[in-house]
């Protein structure tokens, strides 16, 4: 129990630190949100009236304290760029990004795990060599390029897939899938390549340990050796990696949403940064921080489930 409380405390501190850092960075960065938004066509009257309305003429500490106070009442403030509550914008986009990220994660696990086990068992045989070199290629592909190639060869040729925009799950499940599968695949492919290697190495490491030799000499069937004993022990490092890829998948959505014009969090983040839309950036950064920290929190908890010894440390 103490373990969990300590973890939660760490979570809160991380989030608070991130919020202060983003706020300060934004004050140092040149560029003014109102001018960036209104562009060259604005006259001074319009600029001033908007600044007053948005409260951007108030002292910095006041703006920050206001923002923090808002958080505790569930009010993340209004986006400067979109003149809408940040929470509304986030809620609209959360399903898109979560769907893509979740689907990508699913595809990664679906392929990386069995392929890794397979390659480890066939170590140094032909199929292992082939798989290892193919994944080398997979790791080297930048995702925006992969996205373009997928659009060009799959998206444009298979009627089922849409290459622009998003159809909500509530509207049509088929529609949602048609907009989400390709972006998810784009994020997943390089990740499969990386994770495949982790799984393979992790299992190979275990295979060389004494206990494996012992259970093998005991005469246990290979199936039980691999799945019951090796896999369970190899799972700890693999789990760590899957904790980390959640962060990478979330980062991956930023680029992929741009290519597929998916109205998700990543796309919103790019817009909000280039427009210096501070309340929106803060909101998104909070969301990403909380997601990543939370996933790692879950991973930590899972450690102790898989290996009870961890709780003692």
């Amino acid at each position: 129990m103490f373990y969990i409380i300590r973890r939660i405390l760490l979570l809160v501190i991380t989030v608070a630190l991130v919020s202060v850092i983003t706020f300060s960075v934004f004050q140092i960065l040149p560029g003014d949100p109102v001018r960036t938004m209104l562009g060259t066509e604005a006259d001074e009257t319009q600029i001033e009236s908007l600044r007053n309305e948005l409260g951007l003429n108030r002292p910095l500490h006041e703006q920050y304290v206001d923002w923090i106070r808002g958080i505790f009442t569930g009010d993340l403030g209004n986006s400067i760029r979109f003149s809408m509550p940040v929470s509304v914008l986030l809620m609209e986009r959360l399903p898109v990004t979560l769907s893509v990220a979740g689907m990508a994660l699913f595809i990664v696990v679906l392929f990386a795990l069995p392929l890794g086990i397979f390659a480890a068992k066939r170590q140094k045989k032909f199929s292992d060599v082939v798989l290892s070199s193919v994944t080398q290629l997979g790791m080297a592909i930048p995702s925006f390029w992969l996205g373009m190639i997928i659009i060009l060869y799959i998206g444009m040729n298979v009627d089922f897939f849409k290459i622009n925009g998003y159809i909500p799950w509530s509207e049509s499940i088929k529609g949602a899938l048609s907009t989400l599968i390709l972006p998810a695949l784009t994020i997943a492919i390089p990740q499969i390549a990386v994770k495949f290697r982790y799984v393979r190495t992790s299992i190979l490491d275990q295979m060389q340990l004494d206990y494996v030799r012992t259970i093998r000499s005991k005469g246990l069937p290979e199936r039980i050796v691999v799945y019951k004993h090796i896999l369970k022990n190899a799972l700890i490092p693999i789990l760590t990696i899957f904790g980390l890829i959640t962060a990478e998948v979330v980062a991956g959505t930023i680029i992929v949403e741009q290519v597929f014009a998916l109205p998700g969090i990543g796309q919103l983040l790019i817009t909000s940064i280039s427009y210096r839309d501070f309340p929106l950036v803060q909101g998104i950064v909070m969301y990403i921080t909380i997601t990543v920290v939370f996933i790692n929190f879950v991973v930590d908890i899972l450690y102790s489930v898989i290996d009870p010894r961890i709780r003692l440390r």
């Binding site: 040149p30 949100p33 938004m37 009257t45 009236s49 908007l50 849409k162 109205p263 919103l268």
Partner: protein, 521 residues
């Protein structure tokens, strides 16, 4: 035994993957031809759905027409709003919500008769109160913030009866009517006060349905539109897609019906789509901070102008799809445009060197060009300019900054030496040229200061006769050219790719996707 089973599963899985990958591409190519046939078939049918999807690069800044300033916003929202006057494709104006108007002899009093057959999208009729409300809101007379500086010259507004609206100016201004279009003063209903951005209501051919930030803006047909028989389309969706390359694929895949196509990709789409060329009336320039040495000296500016190879820029950056210009006015402006100036600064390295020497810089100098990163075009232009200027001994360093920083530092801060930018087109010749008036602190970021130019622009404000106005505008363009106020490169064309069965697309000398007369045949 079980080991073999596991093997089998994996082999099968991989096999399935490969097969599906292969069959996807085969199936795909078949489907592609099918859909081409399909679109031809529907092109012939008359029951084609009148719904259009138009790709736009970015979100609107505001939907409230009085708050919006970005040209990209007006590109869409002008379909929802109208002003007392409506700008036309040739840069002229016609009566819009004002049925007719009169100007007093001294040019100070404008009397408008308001149309009585117009209803707003919410079903309420347009009344004189809405017109008064609109201008009071813009001028900040009804308690709110002043939203526009365009009406500072208005002394009073008045509504003597239910159909008549009177505006009195402090000083005569021949360009005044141009501030009465939806670009500057869209007429909006008083009953919608406080909701103009969340739920915009106007009198235009299309009404607001929904706005999803980052995704799209949906409009629907205004069934009660006052111009009989218009519009034809039932639905208009503006789809936001910032990536130009992806947008072309969207067009090819049939997911959007209209999009801008980068010049170098025209060959991919021209066979199966219509390509229309729009002189978008924006002027691409390289300009100098004219308060700084050495750009204070006209000879230095002229030397730079002579050194830069404009045709190279047009060919390499715009694949040739651009019209050379010689001052801040494009041929898109019709008779206001003065032809011939584009040939004055033909590339001439020797003459440029000579001018530099005369100005006291025989060995050239070092300087910096600050460009925005929001569009590749600026860095491309800068790269060519740098090479050209090297030949006359000027060493230029390129500094690429974010759009927000460019605005702050260059446009508003005027802390720069050289920069390149395209100035957005406007429907009125006066507004295009007034950037260069020395007292126009807000827009004159070149810090151009020329007494004769200021005088010409002051004269044109008082001139009521169109012919004489045009003479003044021509002289103003000559001055900009003589003084080399900037290196005027080109009005680059926007190439619109659209489905072949779409008709009625119009191009304006400013950014406007007019959907009023568009239809699928």
């Amino acid at each position: 035994m079980s080991k073999r089973k596991y093997w089998l599963t994996i082999v099968l899985l991989v096999a399935v993957l490969f097969i599906s990958a292969c069959s996807n591409s085969e199936e795909g190519s078949e489907k592609a031809t099918e859909s081409e046939d399909g679109s031809e078939a529907t092109a012939g049918a008359s029951d084609q759905a009148q719904e259009i999807r138009v790709r736009i690069n970015d979100d609107p800044d505001f939907l409230d027409p009085h708050r919006a300033t970005a040209s990209i916003s007006f590109q869409m929202i002008l379909n929802m709003f109208e002003g007392l006057f409506i700008p036309q494709t040739d840069g002229s104006l016609t009566e819009g919500l004002a049925e007719s108007y009169e100007v007093s002899e001294d040019g100070l009093t404008y009397t408008f008769t308001i149309r009585d057959d117009v209803t707003f999208h919410n079903g309420e009729p347009l009344t004189i109160d809405d017109v008064v409300y609109t201008f009071e809101r813009l001028m900040g007379l009804n308690g709110g913030e002043k939203l526009s500086g365009n009406f500072d010259n208005v002394a009073s507004i008045d509504a003597p009866d239910e159909k008549t609206f009177v505006m009195t100016l402090k000083e005569a201004h021949s360009n005044f009517l141009y501030s009465l279009t939806a670009l500057q003063s869209a007429i909006i209903p008083q009953s919608n006060d406080g909701e103009h951005n969340e739920n915009p209501i106007g009198t235009g051919p299309f009404a607001f349905v929904d706005y999803s930030p980052g995704a799209n803006l949906e409009l629907t047909k205004n069934e009660d539109y006052w111009q009989d028989g218009l519009p034809y389309l039932d639905n208009v969706t503006f789809v936001f897609q910032s990536d130009d390359q992806a947008a072309v694929m969207n067009l090819l895949a049939g997911e959007v019906d209209v999009t801008g196509v980068p010049g170098h990709r025209v060959s991919e789409v021209e066979d199966s789509f219509n390509i229309s060329h729009q002189n978008n009336n924006s002027t691409l320039i390289i300009t100098f901070n004219q308060e700084k040495e050495p750009f204070k000296d006209m000879k230095v500016r002229q030397a730079i102008n002579l050194a830069i190879n404009k045709q190279d820029i047009i060919d390499s950056v715009f694949s040739g799809y651009a019209t050379p210009i010689g001052s801040n006015m494009s041929p898109a402006m019709g008779e206001y445009y003065l032809d011939g100036l584009q040939d004055v600064y033909q590339r001439d390295v020797e003459k440029a060197k000579q001018l530099l020497a005369e100005a006291g810089y025989p060995d050239g100098f070092e300087t910096k060009i600050t460009v925005s990163s929001h569009n590749d075009l600026y860095s491309s232009v800068a790269q060519i300019a740098v090479e050209n200027l090297k030949e006359i001994g000027i060493d230029v360093e390129i500094e690429v900054v974010e759009w927000g920083i460019w605005l702050e530092r260059v446009y508003f801060g005027r802390d720069y030496e050289l920069t390149t930018i395209d100035l957005t087109g406007r429907p009125s010749a006066y507004e295009i040229l007034d950037d260069y008036i020395s007292t126009n602190d807000a827009e004159n970021f070149f810090l151009f200061d020329n007494q004769e130019f200021d005088q010409v622009m002051a004269d044109v404000r008082k001139e009521t006769e169109i012919e004489k106005q045009i003479d003044y505008y021509h002289r103003a363009q000559e001055i900009l050219n003589e003084e080399s106020a900037a290196v005027y490169i080109a009005d680059y064309q926007i190439l619109w790719g659209s489905k072949q069965n779409i008709s009625g697309l119009k191009s304006y000398p400013f950014w406007f996707h007019d959907m009023k007369e568009v239809k699928f045949d």
